[in-house]
Symmetry: C2
Subunit: 878 residues, 2 copies
Amino acid sequence: MKKQKLIYYFGSQATEGNRDMRELLGGKGANLAEMTSIGLPVPPGFTITTACCADYHAAGKKLTKSLIEDVHRNMQRLEKESGKMFGSSENPLLVSVRSGAAVSMPGMMDTVLNLGLNDRTVRGLARLTGNERFALDAYRRLINMYGDVVMGIEHHHFETAFDRIKKQYKVSRDTDLDTDGLGDLLEAYKAIYKKHTRKPFPQDPYKQLQLAIEAVFRSWNIPRAIAYRRINAIQGLLGTAVNVQSMVFGNMGDDSGTGVAFTRDPATGQNRFYGEFLINAQGEDVVAGIRTPLPVMDMKKWQPAIYRQLLQVKHTLETHYLDMQDIEFTIERGRLFILQTRTGKRTGQAAVKIAVDLVREKKISRATALLRVPANDLNQLLLPSFDPAAKRTVLTTGLPASPGAASGYPVFTADEADARAADGESVILVRRDTSPEDIHGMHAAAGILTSTGGSTSHAAVVARGWGKCCVAGASELNIDDKRKRIRVNGVTITGKDMLSIDGTSGEILMGEVSKSPPVFTKEFKTLMKWADGKRKLRVRTNADTTEDAEVARQFGAEGIGLCRTEHMFFGDDRIMAMRRMILADNPQDRRQALKKLLPFQRRDFYGLFNAMKGLPVTIRLLDPPLHEFLPRDEKTMGELARIMKVPVTAVRNRVNQLHESNPMMGHRGCRLSITYPEILEMQVRAIVEAAIDCRRKRIDARPEIMIPLIGLARELALLREQVIAIIADIRREKRYRGKLDIPVGTMIEVPSAALTADQIAGHADFFSFGTNDLTQMTMGYSRDDIGSFIPEYINKGLLNNNPFQTIDGGGVAILVEMAITGGRSKKPGLKCGICGEHGGDPESIAFFQKAKLDYISCSPFRVPVARLAAAQAKLLDE
Amino acid sequence: MKKQKLIYYFGSQATEGNRDMRELLGGKGANLAEMTSIGLPVPPGFTITTACCADYHAAGKKLTKSLIEDVHRNMQRLEKESGKMFGSSENPLLVSVRSGAAVSMPGMMDTVLNLGLNDRTVRGLARLTGNERFALDAYRRLINMYGDVVMGIEHHHFETAFDRIKKQYKVSRDTDLDTDGLGDLLEAYKAIYKKHTRKPFPQDPYKQLQLAIEAVFRSWNIPRAIAYRRINAIQGLLGTAVNVQSMVFGNMGDDSGTGVAFTRDPATGQNRFYGEFLINAQGEDVVAGIRTPLPVMDMKKWQPAIYRQLLQVKHTLETHYLDMQDIEFTIERGRLFILQTRTGKRTGQAAVKIAVDLVREKKISRATALLRVPANDLNQLLLPSFDPAAKRTVLTTGLPASPGAASGYPVFTADEADARAADGESVILVRRDTSPEDIHGMHAAAGILTSTGGSTSHAAVVARGWGKCCVAGASELNIDDKRKRIRVNGVTITGKDMLSIDGTSGEILMGEVSKSPPVFTKEFKTLMKWADGKRKLRVRTNADTTEDAEVARQFGAEGIGLCRTEHMFFGDDRIMAMRRMILADNPQDRRQALKKLLPFQRRDFYGLFNAMKGLPVTIRLLDPPLHEFLPRDEKTMGELARIMKVPVTAVRNRVNQLHESNPMMGHRGCRLSITYPEILEMQVRAIVEAAIDCRRKRIDARPEIMIPLIGLARELALLREQVIAIIADIRREKRYRGKLDIPVGTMIEVPSAALTADQIAGHADFFSFGTNDLTQMTMGYSRDDIGSFIPEYINKGLLNNNPFQTIDGGGVAILVEMAITGGRSKKPGLKCGICGEHGGDPESIAFFQKAKLDYISCSPFRVPVARLAAAQAKLLDE
């Protein structure tokens, strides 16, 4: 049996691993080896394999002799390469120790830096750097980290000692403590260490190293890590690797420094070297922002050779990784080290430009470019955003429910929003939550902010439909709508204080923040063209108004997948007729009221058909429970009664009668059409009359009628027959003999519908999955109420995502697949689409591609996202 | 090709059909033939086949010549057999015409009686009967029925004319109109007939007959009948048959009469002839109850030969049909005719006795006996019922939610129920609906009456669990709980007016009604023994208290399938600790409050284990959302705040915070255990400590822990691990090394759990289907809210049953089957049970048998029903 290799070295001497060895070296180790082997000046070190971890546990938590010997051997290689000695008081070699498994995993052992320092070597380091304070500080950090991470001493013990000594030296900031103070602190730390471990802090550097390695191995099997692997079904891993790497310091004098850089501009995507650095500083100093860093171009003057070397690194990295890189570097005494490279984060605009440019530079294929741009990032191109350079004072953070940026004065009722917006003011509607009664105020507001509800709450869904900025569920807001003020984290905001909300980050900001407008670059158009050439899924939009339809068409929508007719009933001129209809206690009065609504609906449909001419327009019949159209509070009920000339008890009784314990599963959807067939009759009439009007004006109207909440094949059989009879009646009435095929289909959103899809397909011209409701019922999650437990579910790894954002890959996905298979078994080629919120989510779109849907439908502003995601899904499904 | 037979005659001459020919002769025709052929004196007649109906429609709605000839030929046979002549003014033959398809179908043409009467024959009939009034009345009925049913003249036209003539003759009742009046009425009817059909009433009897036959055929294809067949997927039928039968009259003098009889006593099952009759009367007179009928025994004196003949008929029928029969007979001029026989309706007690007696008489097998008793009818044996002889004044009718009978004074709050019951009064708790806060009052009351909610509402479920009488959803009740009174149909009931409620019929009765006690007959015990010998499904019970468990065990329960622990938190001494727990804002305070609950739970569990020793006791961890334990109104919140010494805002905020839009799908079930693990910890501790206490006293405790509302395998993995760790901890603490296997299983009640059952089974020792919630989520029906549309769904044939009473054979059944298959694919032989309301429903039990469940669990008082139904299901599944 060939002896297994225990340790993989990386350095100028030899580099034994590469990026394909994640299983054995862990992610971190494989990457360090890769960087070294493509010639990047990485501080040398070595990786102890994951197999050693398995051996360690198998041997009853003991390091094997051969491993200890191998560690020594590799330390000697390190010493040779670095010219430093581990434990030397002259020129001490210091190392870091880090864990690193093949899959990143919370709860495992963290980093220990500066290993190798002891009472002697610290003096060598001080001499070497000419900076005693630096050396002492490095040593106290080691004892703290080592004590905490390796020996399990609780961090607060060290914290308390630090506070005591700062008080003694009358300083407030850690960095103000002088060398005397640090000396005292070191003694205190050593005492703490001894008290808790019953042993002095190990002065033998090899002892330090050995214990640190063992601590990493042990952390693989702590209960939290085991639980994490079990819950996430992570199986077949050997253990964690251990990375030992020589330390470099950018704070060893004026020929040292540290910085970060991007190989292209991460904001715009321009192909220019971009970054900043600090002379004589550590990595933390750049991040902390205490000193102002210099632009990386200034390095040309400071150390031109290093600058040239960095430009070479940029070239090497892009040639190797074929993407824009984000690098961390340190210059120790005039020598450049690359500490890390990773694919650089970038704005949506930059992502598009870099991807298209790389194709033009013949570095990547079009397919790669399409896969390279996170589809969600396109949103940033389509909506205004806050100027990244503007100063932000964050009051609190909510859920980023609908992207964009908005500033305005807070208003607390829909009416106030309407009134102040009419006066030309920019307002943010601030509510606990919103309901369909607030629609006019939501439309008038520049943005919407709620303290409850998630990204699929009413506010969020409506806002996304309009491309309006919305932050939801900002639970720290204490909204006092009587006194018209908000209290949040000790600040009180009144109607006179301007607020800004960032729908992309969820931040709520004090005052007005300047904004950048949306940018449609030529690279964006190119990428979209490539996407359309690739994708198989058609992309429709969810739109209820002519304006929405027009916006969506500009964004490339290929039809309307969902027109929610109920939104059409909320106009001032309509809601009264709607309420009269609901308060009617007999079909005659109901018909009378519906007659008033007919012309409005017909006009709305005419507008939609015209805006979408030549493309399908799927109209969903009335869906929400009727109580949503009635007022909730006594006062408004009284007003309604006066206007309608009925006793207030009549209104109140009807409101009480319509009250439901679980309205989501109550009297709504097709159940309304079954019990009040006259509503269906009016809506179908409006659709057909509008379509005939269009056709007679040579407008190619293509309506599709969609019946919601079907659970039983018999329901659809009955309603379809009614719809078809009404269509025939109207054609006769109107003496219209021209072309007019109106498919009649159903939503699949009740589990029983998905389970009996074969029967339902017999009565359906198409299926459209309502994945919001399907998720609610399949998982038993009321989407308005999940705030109390879903965050904890995601924290604990029980769910990977909020299932209302990304479709659940368990039961919900099974039902969608069953329904498609069932439906097409009865009716081969049955057209299947999806019109839930998931239609705009890239991860869900990947599933819809696999499930062989024909189309997806999403809000207008997500159409480009969906087009790109559909192309990516097709590429990944090939 | 052999010429198809068009008409089947039945009579003494020849009987050409039999009961197996339903397809061709319809149900009615086949039965008339059968009765005739076993020698019963049935008035002769003939049946035109369903194939003729198909021919009629195929020929463009024309009767074929050969059919018309055949009708004539058969009418001649009838004339010959009856000795009467169709159209004769001397001795006229009169016939009835009735439709009758193979499947009974609403909306088809009804009966026409007295066909053959015209201006001439009516005089013959008058002479023959010596009763001119009778003859004229028969004629006017013919014109009315014929005009309405055959010619489609709306009934109200005849009604109006009748009213006018009664006014003219100054009489109020129809029967008071004399022959002159009837003469005028006949003229008026003929005028109406002529006005609407533009033709005089046909005087030719054959014309009458032909048009009536055509009307029956046409009624097969009216839209309502077509829709009914389509919706109910009734396919492959040829059409409707037509039955033409000679009329007989029991009102032709003192040697005539009419009556009904049962071959055994339908109340007790005793083998004695039982019935009543009227001399010189028509069938309607017996039903109308104007004259008091004589007991059938009195016939011995009146016409001893007829009486003997009837006894012979009884014997023939029982020998032929092998069951107790309910017969209608008429004696026309000393000659007996049997007009109908059908299986007689009987009480539960009679059903049991008859079935067991018939086995003893060697008429039927044990299997037949088991199938003969409707399992639901056993309820009547187990509960008190109102004396059938007692006078009833029905105020209104609600849903029969929990069987039994109760009388008491109405009370409007749980506290009042408690107080007045403590004073020794019998009270009925009358509420709009009930909630867990009302439990003490519900327990104290003799019965429960609600104006909303259905048979699966809180009131109904709790009541059934206790075997307490409940009528729910009596929507006509107008409950004014402030003034403590009820208004219903013009009557006002106060707290001083005794009420009675019948949980079997749903009736609400004025005053106190005398009751019959339950009867456990020896036949009942025999039948139960046979059932237990046959069934494969084990029968457990849903019980939360020792008393319930003991009752259920007496009824034959083989364990507890569902112990709802939340009911244990409502006692006066517990609810405060529970509320303190809920109001706690950190785990420490929560643990403190839970510590107070622990001894109560432990004591409860000890009691259950002891009552059920040797049998499994499945305990479900806390399931309902926490807000159910908090008060809802400001006043009670204030009281709670005072008692708990917290500000009322703290209570109100928590109540608001816990408010959910759709609590059914909110923060409940295992979601509580995930977010508040300390609740689970306390409950598991109570279970394990109680079990160890029992074991140490040599009580064979067999707890099973059941985790509710699991939707994801990861949830169960996490919680199961916690439960097992706690069990191990307590064993260690208690130094208990004895036997104690506690299976940990899950409820399957969320669709996603059923869909991913293979994964879930990996972490479950058993599955228990919670079919209530599974139905809610699979069909999207909130069971508290279905009242607004389910009745219409059942009316329109969209649903056959309320799916909360009988399990839905569509999606829900598919999910149950998928889950069993999925679970057992991973874990062969996985124990699967059901603990929803369906566990006590015979039709659902048939499905559970087919689905290969191991056990069902139902409320204590339904255990015998379930035992019998399980045996029946096994017999039908063989």
